[in-house]
Symmetry: D2
Subunit: 365 residues, 4 copies
């Protein structure tokens, strides 16, 4: 949706804020009235996204105490837009964008400068920061609660792979409480240890790692999604690609399934306790762009973080000459663990949006 700061059709999230501004926040419009919500619940989810809380990410302090400033009365949503915000700490010293003319490889610097046409247009720096994903989490926390309360939908997003280290077993519901028991948000303890080590290792080398987040939503009712162009896959992918560093998404058997035969990949129907289910779930819970009642599963590829300590060849945009860049400061060697609650949030927002579109969730609880 133009101009680009909003997403959704019946449940609309508008994100605002940059590193330089006084605050970052979100307006969530279209949430039904009568949902019990308070700052504590939103804060919990925000805290899962924050860096500086473990040793594998940066020790940058972000503060991030959320305030609800509209749309909630006596602990219940009123149906009017809900505005939440976080105050940024004093930013005056962050003046480096002005001085840096060496393009940082893998970052948005170059295209943003060209698009916005100004060396010292801070919009580039401010609006592309991973910090902005906090706004998605603010709205997502409410959407998640709405889905849980009205439809019993649960969303579990977790780290399934870091670099080449993959989870060994398949996820099941019982593992959900293990996701946040470790820093990497991998519900397989043994694998989480290896992942942690590889991240620390990369950090020592001044390098970075990427990974894959898997997300599974259960109890999704049949019928969500509006073909042709607002199918569930279209809207989920549109939302997920707003997360910096995301470079790929697949649903169900995805790329792996493209190598199978139809006889191997088709999910056969069966009756199970009076309910229509499929024996396998290669469709990832979505057929023809519409949810079919099976868990909605997706895997999201994150490229390795672009800010590395090693020297890199680059160009100085001021004089158009080759140059060497060495990024200063301490940076996250791996953003994947922090993205898990962000994925949860965007999946929740998209599913809730579609549930409102179909009338599965009413405008008033």
């Amino acid at each position: 949706m133009l101009p680009g700061s909003s997403i959704g059709q019946r449940l609309v999230l508008t994100s605002f804020g940059e590193s330089h501004g006084r605050s970052i926040g979100a307006v969530l419009d279209g949430c039904p009235a009568g949902l019990e919500i308070d700052e504590k619940e939103i804060q919990e989810m925000l805290d899962l996204r924050k860096p500086g809380q473990n040793i594998i990410s940066t020790q940058r302090k972000e503060g991030d105490v959320v305030e609800i400033v509209s749309g909630v009365f006596r602990g219940f949503t009123t149906g009017a837009p809900i505005t939440m915000l976080i105050w940024n700490a004093d930013q005056k010293s962050k003046d480096y964008e002005n001085l840096k003319t060496k393009l940082r490889p893998g970052h948005s610097d170059y295209p943003a400068m060209m698009k916005y046409n100004q060396f010292n247009d801070h919009r580039g720096g401010g609006r592309f920061s991973g910090r902005l994903t906090a706004t998605h989490v603010m709205g997502g926390a409410i959407a998640r609660k709405l889905l849980k309360k009205t439809l019993g939908i649960k969303i579990n997003s977790f780290t399934t792979q870091i670099g080449k280290i993959k989870m060994e077993k398949e996820f099941n519901e019982k593992m959900s409480k293990l996701i946040y028991k470790n820093e990497v948000r991998c519900p397989e303890e043994k694998t989480a240890k290896k992942m942690r080590e590889s991240i620390l290792d990369a950090k020592k080398k001044g390098d970075s790692l990427g990974g894959i987040i898997e997300s599974i939503s259960t109890n999704v009712p049949v019928g969500l999604g509006e073909p042709i162009f607002s199918s569930l896959e279209s809207d989920l992918s549109k939302a997920i690609f707003s997360i910096p560093s995301v470079k790929g998404i697949e649903f169900g058997s995805g790329f792996r399934g493209s190598e199978l035969f139809g006889s191997e990949n088709n999910d056969l129907y069966a009756m199970k306790r009076g309910k229509i289910v499929t024996k396998t779930n290669n469709s990832g819970g979505i057929l023809g762009g519409i949810s079919n009642g099976m868990p909605i599963t997706m895997r999201i590829a994150f490229k390795p973080a672009s800010s590395i300590a090693q020297k890199q060849d680059t160009v100085d945009i001021k004089n158009k000459k080759d140059a060497i860049l060495q990024v200063k400061g301490r940076h996250d060697p791996c953003v994947v663990p922090r993205a898990a609650p962000v994925v949860d949030s965007l999946v929740a927002l998209t599913i809730a949006d579609h549930a409102l579109i179909t009338g599965t969730i009413k405008p008033s609880l």
Copy 2:
């Protein structure tokens, strides 16, 4: 965009039609005035999508003669909405949807029936047919011409993998004229032969195959994409997932890149003949959601076609009992080759939309 039949923000495609209707077609609104276009050019692209033109797909005759019924005057677009349509052949005999209550695995039958709430609601069958992609091609043909004429952008989408058979070499511009020289739309003759054989083989077995389409757009100007939520990756994926059978998308190094180190995946900047380029292109031409001038590359995963001749376990939705299904009729064992022009079209529509949003293309040529 609700209700679901339109996509785009400045260049909007509205798709209409179903198998049962008299026609299928599209309205393209927002195309600048002064673009030279005629039915022949649109027909050429539509013909690339049609089945029945080679032996690896169904011999179903689709007719598909396109007519432009508004928006073009004396061979030039007027700036008003352009409506194009194809008349469906007489459909009266196609009455089987009424009788089929056995759910077809992998198809949209079940969720569509539940969503639209009617056994004999033909909307399900009619609006989910792959035939509907002809409407995307109608609009895409115009968008492609617009991009080529105003910005010199070229889009090449081709089959890079069928089942487990992959192209051996990397694509380069010289190979583009080879794409449509064979039925599988693979620009590597040797591999195309193997692919063709495997498809015929699957067909004999009453089975089906999936594959991967790769798409590369060159000459894309820097600066397209509107963060945060209308980034180029968000809008491209939203469009691509409207193609039936698509189950995954990745940009640049995608899922492979998620296993690399930052030092391996970052694209380093360099000057090349006075222009800023990157030495590698793992970003796929998009950084921070904005085009950076390098080719925009993506790979799209197609699941194997759901209609196979083999018997399949399923459920009869009328009496909620297990049943056996054997899909009659002749079906495409592999939809991937036919999807190449559809991918071209959706990529063109999305890039043109963003070029109009940024003002890179003016409303009047």
Copy 3:
């Protein structure tokens, strides 16, 4: 909604066509499945709009036989987009737009030329023709039927004033069948005669007249309208101002009410047969932007038609010099009577849109 050819949020009308194109038509997306509709019903409403059927308007023949080309199966809507079109008669002789550089006062010529930047850009002429309102009627005919069938809503739009000649009595439901009994669409026979004479008189003098259409919708349920910015008055006025020549709109007591005291203008509540009603209806059925159950009443001001036979001072845009213009051809001396079915249509489309938004009308009948 950009780019400008569509209106609506859940029920979306996309209008296409110009004088020069082969056809004019509309795509109506979002209409629920299961509504019985055929070409005859749409034709009836179109015929009410056509000129050349009485002596007070132009004897231009428009043809206007509507075809439904998608979205209807066996006489029922399928829920998919409904496309309707009318083929234009051969337009090749209508080449005069190329030659006219003298600006026609009151027409869109000048701003359209400046906007679209071309003397011979036919878009101006083609897309501003009153003929385009036929597309609103196509969609409106379906919306009207939908409202009548699901909610029993009736919409009556009629000529209440031509020039200075006003209706004497207030409209009541019994008069509805008189609206189309005369050429001016005034349900008061005596007044209609005077109106007719004044129009013929103006025609003889080579001049034109304007007027006022009143529209009354009954049986509208309480609760339609989405504050703050999608209130019922906002959306109704947005739609109505798309009709060429409309220059004003008022709801309920409107401008007259602005001269009253609150004690005179407030509608007092009362119980009437167990239902909450108001004793007067100065609010025009809308309070706080939401329907309150009382009839929705509005009056719409139409300026006198701009094309008059008399000589007029003007400017020749080619050489920027003063000039004299005498518009040739026969033109409608008064467009008001023809606009009645167009007002009906736009009111129906807006109310139906809001009924779908609130869920008062379900997506499937």
Copy 4:
């Protein structure tokens, strides 16, 4: 635009807040980067809207100190969303909505209760308050500055009529500085006095008055407006009807023009110092929905305020019985003077939106 709290297409205002919430505010997305703006300028316009600053309106203290919390850096807009808000004073005592079951005539109570389905759903009270128009003024202040700086556009909205008392002379640019010299915002001193007296008189009687605001925008470039459905009149009226109490709008000669002959109402073109102008301006600066360069003029009808001290017949919604209501507290006997800056703001937002759509204003100053 759904869900209802946002308006605009390239320049989007999202309004949030209710009486009960901690704050009311707005997010303005799409404002170009590089515009100099600060809280003081926004505060000035907000103060013009505040009650309690003169004796003809309520002595309710609203506070209303605005803070910009995002989108502005070192005094310049960054191009990212601009969020502004005002903190509400402690609202805990405002609990009366819970207790009032007698419907207030002329208010949104009844339809809002029915729409939102709850007696004690505070959304009704909170979101319909005239106080919410402060959010339109926040965004409008920025839009006004943008228009003035980039295109030299001036907008003057003033009270032209209160009850039956009308301005005697026509407005001209020199009178603009007189608008805010008196409490009623009428630039004709003599008339302003009479208006003031009639308002005080109505107040004594426990009654209220309505009126008409006229708005004139000069220096508007030719070519703004997107036919068919996003014409300038459509979008201006859509925005203006969001102001509580507005019941009518007319452009140019409006309803009066509907009584004229074409020969009287047509604006004849002429050359004036090398520029194309019209000798009269009955079109109100808009032809065919597009601006023609002449001043954009409109008149807006406000009904008399619904809250009056006199006893009124009504219904008690709890027991569906007739009742008598006497509204307590002190209320504005006339909202018209306070609405002038709100009209300014909504006109500015709409014109700026269209200027951005056409590219007349660039995304970066």
